[in-house]
């Protein structure tokens, strides 16, 4: 740990005192200095300083495990590696469901079903292990005040009518979902920092943050100088804290994100190293104007955030009734799309029209274009023609 005090790194007492005179008290301070500076500060010879460096490094460095030990540990408890989403085709492709120990992000235009999905996952996490749940409590950090307890009960009652046959069971389930309303970035970060203790005391098995984007975009206006760097900083810090918690306790973390429009100057720039959307066949009116601009809708919060999350699921509109769920980024699953509708019991997959195992497909998950409501409606109206919606990733 970086903030470990030097005296716990087994350095001698007098050396620690001497270093504290130069304001070097933690391992972090020690390791950031160059060798010459260390020689000056400790008054030791070159060789001794190297030995000291090794001692301090030993105190900070992580433990080694072989990949085999990790595999054995995982196979002892296979059901604990994933949280099934109860959408069977999706679970199959994802090798079990939402992975435990990593961050999963859910992105979609407004009204597509993110909060519904999160509520469903909360119910699932409280179910006993025999039914595919994690038999634990849930922390739900709500920044948009979109959580509805009535909808929670409706989904639970309709999705698992045989299990939730009594009011008692429903209340038991609702008691294990801890809802926190946070409205600023600072409070969200504070809440994330306090998660470690809460997880231990309340036996939490799932963390949901709905949504990260709303609170970040409210406070950071990227057009202002310096805000972009601060925003990335906040996001990176939050992501690393969440990753630590997820890995330490081996629990899934679900985050939701919003969408943004990214503009580009299309053709003039080589397609490879450049960020903008290369989908020229985009939304209505893009090519008609003759300008070289094309806009597309992608996940918000930028490139760095796309690196930080391990799995990215995109929900988007397909036509008036059905929507699509797209696996845009996953270390175990290929790029796939599934159709679903939102019913009383939450999200329901529509079998038969799903496209999975598309080995050659894929686009940059940070730039995956997302279909919003207008385009979906437009497409529904144009359904008679052969025109395929240009920005749908599925063939």
């Amino acid at each position: 740990m970086a903030t470990k005090k030097l005296r716990r790194a087994k350095l001698s007492q007098e050396l620690c005192e001497r270093l504290s005179r130069y304001q070097i008290t933690t391992c972090q301070d020690f390791l950031c200095l160059s060798l010459l500076e260390l020689m000056k500060v400790t008054g030791e010879s070159y060789r001794n300083v190297q030995k000291l460096l090794r001692k301090v490094s030993l105190a900070c460095a992580p433990k080694m495990q072989t990949a085999y030990e990790m595999k054995v540990r995982r196979s002892i408890n296979p059901s604990a590696a994933f949280l099934p989403t109860s959408l069977h085709s999706l679970d199959k492709v994802l090798h079990g469901g939402i992975p435990c120990g990593s961050l999963t992000e859910l992105t979609s235009p407004p009204g597509c079903g993110k909060t519904q999905f999160c509520i469903t996952m909360s119910v699932l996490a409280t179910l006993p292990v025999s039914m595919g749940g994690l038999d634990g409590a849930v922390i739900y950090i709500d920044t948009e005040s979109a959580f509805s307890a009535e909808r929670l009960i409706e989904i639970a009652g309709n999705r698992f009518p045989t299990y939730f046959d009594s009011d008692e069971k429903l209340f038991c389930m609702t008691r294990s979902i801890h809802l926190y309303r946070e409205l600023t970035c600072d409070s969200v970060l504070k809440r994330i920092k306090s998660l470690e203790e809460e997880i231990i005391s309340k036996k939490i098995k799932l963390i949901i943050i709905d949504s990260v984007a709303s609170v970040v975009r409210k406070e950071f206006d990227t057009k202002l100088q310096g805000n972009l760097a601060e925003r990335s900083n906040f996001l990176a810090r939050g992501a690393s804290l969440l990753k630590y918690v997820a890995e330490e306790f081996s629990i899934p973390v679900i985050l939701t994100n919003q969408i943004t429009t990214s503009l580009s100057n299309g053709l003039a720039i080589p397609a490879d190293l450049v960020s903008p959307a290369h989908d020229l066949s985009l939304s209505e009116g893009a090519s008609g104007s003759g300008k070289k601009e094309s806009a597309c809708v992608t996940a918000a919060l930028g490139n760095t955030w796309s690196h930080s999350v391990n799995t990215r699921l995109i929900l988007q509109y397909h036509d008036l009734l059905t929507r699509q769920i797209v696996i845009a980024k996953s270390p175990v699953a290929p790029f796939s799309t599934f159709f679903y509708t939102v019913e009383k019991s939450g999200l329901v997959l529509q079998d038969g029209k799903n496209l999975s195992n598309l080995p050659w497909e894929g686009t940059n998950p940070a730039l995956q274009t997302i279909q919003v409501r207008n385009t979906a409606l437009g497409n529904a109206l144009l359904k008679t023609t052969d025109e395929t919606p240009g920005d749908t990733p599925s063939p």
Partner: protein, 360 residues
């Protein structure tokens, strides 16, 4: 022997005293002897003896260097280097096009950097390399072990196990085709369990843990002398937040690069780093460039950039001292039933795919 006292690696206080007393060269110190030294500058005899031993070691090292050759120097002729390079192995990636543009595969004793957008396959390639480095020599591999330093938490054991299983099966196919004795012998020890046991995994959560781990790496590599690959998955992630002092960051990164170069050379292993892409805002457009700044670009010897072009993944060799800049398309595949997979493996040597066998 005429070495100046001020340049000796003694503690600063001692050096200051020696200079104040008027000593100028190492020769003078050695002639004085420990007792004389301790009386003259007022230190204990033990301290004086210690200092003289340091001085003697330094001078011996210097003499060896001027005489032209002990192990600590890195001097050799270009012919010796050529012979070394030609017999050196490469770590193959199982994608023939990628191996071609790299000149045979990932080179040992060099630092290779892989940059790419999120989700493009950097961690997959690193896991593939950690398995491929263990391929026995009779199959064309380097028979080494791998150190995997993970800063982002994206290492999936199950995926690594899948890749390892596919690799073992591939080698079994080759053994069946050729029916040679050493192939079958090597296969006895090349199994899923042995592959996974020789991937040494470290999870570093911030840059201090990463720095500490790299400081300890030379000792670890001396103990595990068969390691031929060090992967640092995500060198950018710990350095990209919480750093107000950018000059400190540059200094730490440069120090890290230097240490990695020394490790790569001394232990004859390949070092593979993965980097993120960041958005750089130009006049009226934005571009994706590798993260960590311009000066970091000098750290790696070979730079590969993975990117998307619509729906096709491309790999570009961006920087290499010996190969030409070129781009190839690649895919990460999912092959399903066993029969089809065997076909794909055979094909891969003539086609442009990274085939990673996997069962669903």
């Amino acid at each position: 022997m005429q070495r100046d006292v001020g340049s000796l690696p003694l503690s600063p206080a001692l050096r200051a005293r020696l200079l104040a007393a008027g000593f100028q060269t190492a020769q003078e110190l050695l002639e004085t002897g420990p007792c004389g030294l301790s009386k003259e500058i007022g230190i204990s005899r033990e301290e004086a003896l210690e200092a003289l031993q340091v001085v003697r070691q330094e001078c011996a090292g210097d003499a060896a260097k001027t005489a032209g050759g002990s192990g600590s120097t890195r001097k050799c002729t270009a012919l010796e280097l050529l012979e070394e390079e030609q017999t050196q192995g490469f770590i193959i990636t199982f994608c023939s096009a990628l191996d071609n543009i790299l000149g045979g595969g990932v080179q040992l004793t060099k630092i290779t950097e892989i940059c790419g957008a999120p989700g493009v396959g950097k961690t997959q390639l690193c896991m593939q390399l950690a398995v491929d480095v263990q391929i026995p020599e009779c199959f064309g591999g380097v028979a080494g072990e791998a150190v995997f330093i993970d800063t982002e938490g994206s290492f999936m054991v199950d995926r690594a196990a899948d890749i390892a299983t596919a690799c073992v099966r591939h080698c079994q196919l080759i053994a069946e085709a050729h029916q040679e004795e050493d192939h079958l012998q090597a296969l006895e020890t090349f199994s899923l369990e042995s592959i996974l046991s020789h991937i040494y995994y470290f999870r570093c959560r911030d840059y201090i843990e990463l720095l500490a781990q790299v400081y300890l790496l030379p000792d670890f590599l001396s103990e595990h002398s068969k390691v031929r690959l060090v992967v640092i998955d995500g060198i950018a992630f710990p350095f990209r937040h919480d750093f107000e002092d950018l000059s400190l960051r540059t200094r730490l990164l440069n120090g890290l690069a230097q240490q990695l170069i020394i490790i790569a050379n001394d232990h004859k292993s390949a070092v593979v780093l993965t980097n993120q892409m960041t958005t750089r805002f130009g006049q009226n457009q934005s571009m994706l460039v590798p993260a960590l700044g311009e000066s970091w670009g000098h750290a790696a010897t070979v730079r590969l950039i993975f990117h998307w072009d619509n729906t096709q993944r491309l790999a570009t060799l961006y920087k290499s001292p010996s190969q030409k800049e070129s781009t190839i398309p690649y895919n990460i595949t999912v092959s399903i039933p066993l029969g089809m997979e065997i076909q794909r493996w055979e094909q891969s040597f003539g086609s442009t795919e990274i085939v990673r066998g996997r069962q669903t």
